[in-house]
Assembly symmetry: C2
Homo-oligomer: 227 residues x 2
Amino acid sequence: MDGMPVSDLSSAAQDYLKLIWSATEWSATPVTVGVMAERLGVRPSTVSDGIKKLARQGLVAHAPYGSIELTDEGREHAVAMVRRHRLLETFLVDVLGYGWDEVHDEAEVLEHAVSDKLIGRLDRKLGHPTRDPHGDPIPTPDGKPHLPEGTQLSAAAAGGTVAITRISDADPQMLRYFTQLGLAPDTRLTVREHRPYADVTTIRLHGPDRDIDLGASASDAIWVVAV
Amino acid sequence: MDGMPVSDLSSAAQDYLKLIWSATEWSATPVTVGVMAERLGVRPSTVSDGIKKLARQGLVAHAPYGSIELTDEGREHAVAMVRRHRLLETFLVDVLGYGWDEVHDEAEVLEHAVSDKLIGRLDRKLGHPTRDPHGDPIPTPDGKPHLPEGTQLSAAAAGGTVAITRISDADPQMLRYFTQLGLAPDTRLTVREHRPYADVTTIRLHGPDRDIDLGASASDAIWVVAV
DNA sequence: GGCAAATGTTAGGCTTAACGAACAATAATG
DNA sequence: CATTATTGTTCGTTAAGCCTAACATTTGCC
Ligand SMILES: [Mn+2]
Ligand SMILES: [Mn+2]
Ligand SMILES: [Mn+2]
Ligand SMILES: [Mn+2]
């Protein structure tokens, strides 16, 4: 009933499934061919073909011109790939001393080359971590994602004191900027105000007690919980 | 003068170059299309085509029906790949606790996915090792292989006391057999006799003081130096 | 509701790496 | 040394993944 191991899929197929799963992890916007092409850096026609093949293999559900969803089997593979990716990122930071802004691209390639055995050993070596360096939850081997919580900073109530749970790892450039500002998972801060039409959120960093203005892309990339 | 980085070559090209280099590391037999096809598990026609392309790129010297040799540039890439492979094997054993018979296939895939940065970090983490788990020398970053020494056990003078320097990692099955017998790099033993037409070499293992008979394939896979 | 813009699909090509079949060259053997 | 066996090359084909260009569908706007 659970089909082939995830290692039997091509790198492209593995990335497609992982992307579909990840795209719906933190938001409910439907996954479209355009979104996927954009994020994968390929043309829409390439994705359209690729999805058609995944649909034929029963890994995604997709009617022409419709949005794309994972089947149960597709989701299993997707979660396995997310687990690989996040464990590898954790390894690169914890064991090899990479910066958190340097790990994404390396993991993006490695995730296709490692065996399940290696991932198991890595997990043990790292002490079964539950969060990657960006605060993203690491799914367990049987596919249960540790439930994420929190809201985007852009949507957090003004006046509240919060802690950062995760920061989207999509843009390494932005991660370097956050490092400079002193923003990372577990950082505490107070949301001072949202200025709606300027799309600016002002926060006060605890500790150094500095005020920082963040634009929309930045405050969308940061997820927080009340403390 | 040193052309593209080794990461720009396809996995197939990387494996071809590494194989050519490795084949001449411990013996002087010329590298032929047939030998390569055999070891890579592909058909001769595939190798013939592949070598032609590498020759066009100036990485190997090859006249039709002749044997295959690396150019200086080809050798640089080959050594870089051998370094990757052996550092990865060392990592798998030293850090992740793999057995020495389990690492070869995993490294064979990983070597194509790691960046130069990762290899550098790994080397530092491992304390700049000079030998891989099979006793094979790990080339330095600038391509100088630590010079190998020793002879095949099948060619070692009877009566001599020797230490194992390396054991060919080509056959994991054989490695497991050696583990059972207590044979590994640095094991000391005495060569008792060679029985030529039976192709059997008898050795006495120091410590346990056991006598062992080895066939030709086994005594060709083990390299020793006098101690 | 109709039309233009945005989005998605299809068709046709390219490249890489594999294969088998047919052929060419070299090596081994009587 | 002639013939056969072995080894290597060429060529046509296939399957992935990508591309562009042409076409189809859906969406959003007047
Ligand atoms: Mn990837
Ligand atoms: Mn991450
Ligand atoms: Mn390899
Ligand atoms: Mn080895």
